[in-house]
Amino acid sequence: MVSLNVNGKKYSIDVQEDVPLLWVLRDHLKLTGTKYGCGVGECGNCTVHIDGRAQRSCVVPVGDAKGKKITTIEGLPKDHPVKRAWIKEQVPQCGYCQPGIIMQVSALIGESKSPDPDKIVAAMDDVLCRCGSYPRVKRGIKTAVEIVRKEGKRS
């Protein structure tokens, strides 16, 4: 049995500790917003927050996530600046990579006292998109940072 704290809820799951967190989220908790892309931490599509930091859930054994605060795309508030910016800038195409990209961006915004869009853009190379939504991801980051600057950061 593995105890997890995901999106503020506590779960007890009958699973071996070496199973990647990604598949526990997807198949056991049915939180399918987090996506499988490569299984080796190369594409970032499976990015979630573990204690506030962006992590690749496909290479984190679920045992290592015990007792930590996990947030998935479903747990990021609907009115989160990044989510709002993504709709405003019409970022996604097929959208499959976007939960990972959104989680990466939101962690970077959350980590910084005064988020700088250029620095965030520079830290996006390990999250891949095949449709070529990158120009809009850049715009989305700018807009999200503007929202944060205007409204202040939420906890």
């Binding site: 080796v40 998935t72 479903e74 990021l76 097929c94 939960p99 939504s133 990158y134």
Partner: protein, 726 residues
Amino acid sequence: MKLSISRRDFLKGSVLAIGACLTPFGTRLLSGAEMKNGFKPTVWYEITPNNIVTVWIPSSEMGQGTWTTLAMIVADELEADWKQIRIKQAPAGEAFKNPITRDQLTVASASVRGYYDILRKAGAAGRMMLVKIAAGQWKVPEGECRAQKGFVVHKKSGRKLSYGKLAEKGPAVAVPQEPTLKKESEFTYIGKTMPRIDIPDKVSGAAVYGIDVSVPGMLYASIARPPAYGAKPVSFDEKAAGAVKGVQKVAPIPMGIAVCADSLDAAWKGRDALKVRWDKGALPDMNDDSIEKHFMEELDKPGAPVKKAAGAKEALASAAKKVEAVYFVPAVAHVTMEPMNCTVHVQKDICDVWAPTQGPLVAKMVASQVAGMPPDKVFVHTSLLGCGLGRRAAPDFVVEGTILSKITGKPVKVIWTREEDIQHDIFRAPTCHRVKAGLDAEGRLTAWSHKVVTASLLKDIYPAGVVNGIDFMSLWGLADFPGSPDNNNIAYEIPNFDLEYLIDDLPIPVAPWRSVQNAPNAFITESFIDELAHAAGKDPVAFRLNLLKNNMRARRSVEVVAEKAGWGKAVPAGHAKGIAQHSCFGSYVAQVADISVNEKNGTIKVHKVFAAVDCGLAVNPDALRAQIEGGIIMGLSTTLKERVRFANGGAKSANLSDYKILKMSEIPEIEVHVIKSAEKIGGMGEPPVPPVAPAVANAFFKATGVRIRRLPLDPATVMEAIRKKA
């Protein structure tokens, strides 16, 4: 195409579906049981008494925005309020066939251009019927009533009725088979940017892709596949795999050895425990070098004549200047971000297929064959697609799911690992060309002789499409099927054009890949035309325009992009510009790439790509722009980075660690100019891809004086070319 909607289906039938299957974004997958309940998909939309207009989208949504764009067309002619529009993904159905593909296939950039007229007519018919119903209720002349924003209004008396109300109470009226369409100046939505319907769910995480489908009692399957083409299993440890906790079934199937288990983790562990030993396969010595050598040898063998110019030989022989070049473009992989997957439940009397597919009717057909059930007992539920790119038009994953559900008697979800997805992809066909051309003393083109060696895309999937040794799909970009209106041809007016084609027979599996062979073929023609311009001492834009005198749309795209990119004007130190144009799927695209080259480490920096496109009317301009941006970026990825490596008779590239695609820091600034055009609507999912590679290669030549005749233009290739020059 004749509009055939029956009155009963249109209104009365639709009322039966009150409130069913509506979610905030109007979409979810229907189960087979729901579809059995008299669901007959013969209509494009339904209006329910809750005042909701539900549009059935025949095309697969794979990021191109088809849910929104097709719904806009219906909403506009119907005079519906955008707020009352919901969409549902149409099931596999004959009624949903696209007149261009003659199938329900989301390919060939054909959704908008294929369904535009049909959906306009369907919407207009509904508008006229609603007006007639209202006028009948009010007992006033139809001419005094108007449909507007979801209501029929009688201005004189100040009365109005919502579409929902009219759908509920309306008496039967006939469906006009030739309804009056709106004038373009009267469009409410068409031509204006509408926010994409699919985006909110994609941002919240609620969007359902094939890989997200869950069916109670479902097993997960993973398949150990042969590392070399044609390899057969020599031995495998069924007992060890079966001993893994959660493994339910080990099954040798034609694709490999499948392991079905209660969880994906167990299926993977079981697959690893199989320790399959394979024989050497069909061509165990095949590797990168042997493939290239093979292509060069094939170039010297005779092929089938595609275009014969009687005077070509003579014109070449007597040319004042001759240019000859050999080009090679390697295989590239699709790498859809969502790997291949499918969920199938073969039941006693029906079969449900949940698939991220570009071809639901094809999925229906193969599942019917494998399950041994008539097609009308097979229900295909098309989910969202995490990229399509042509890969998902093939039904291989549906076959696998159906086989395994049949064997286990349970619902089965097959998920490919990324390694399987790349190594066992059906690739963009590698291609090798020899091109010869002659110029007269004034630098005018007098002859062009072109030999192509590449695999046939149709040979296995549609053998009848290969006639006299010619598969036009493999030649797209050079020559199109006779009579095709899609202009997948070389756009230039070339005197004495001679084209010969030899079907390559390597065991590398191939399939359409965004723009099909237009992209590799255009890399070659557009690089070569640049070679000719330089050999003739002419400006590359002027040289092209001279050969496009009678191709107004292609010509204009070149003129516009040259002007916008400041062609001929000074560039910053170290920068160079290259141009390319290509037309396909009814659209015309020209691009200029502004690059610089680091000759010390061989990296090319693409600073900016300018694009000018003529696709006729842009129905949803912002979604169109997104397609152009995405096409340029994907094209650039193959230009600079992508190449599938082969070794020991199979593909060696296996994951994103050794098959690199373009990253965010590598993208250029992109400036798009959509030419205002009253011409026929063309596609835009694929046409932005082909010009990128030659525009960059032509800029590279301008920057360095070195012509690279192969892709990708990666640092190793660039350094080798520069060394050779020195």
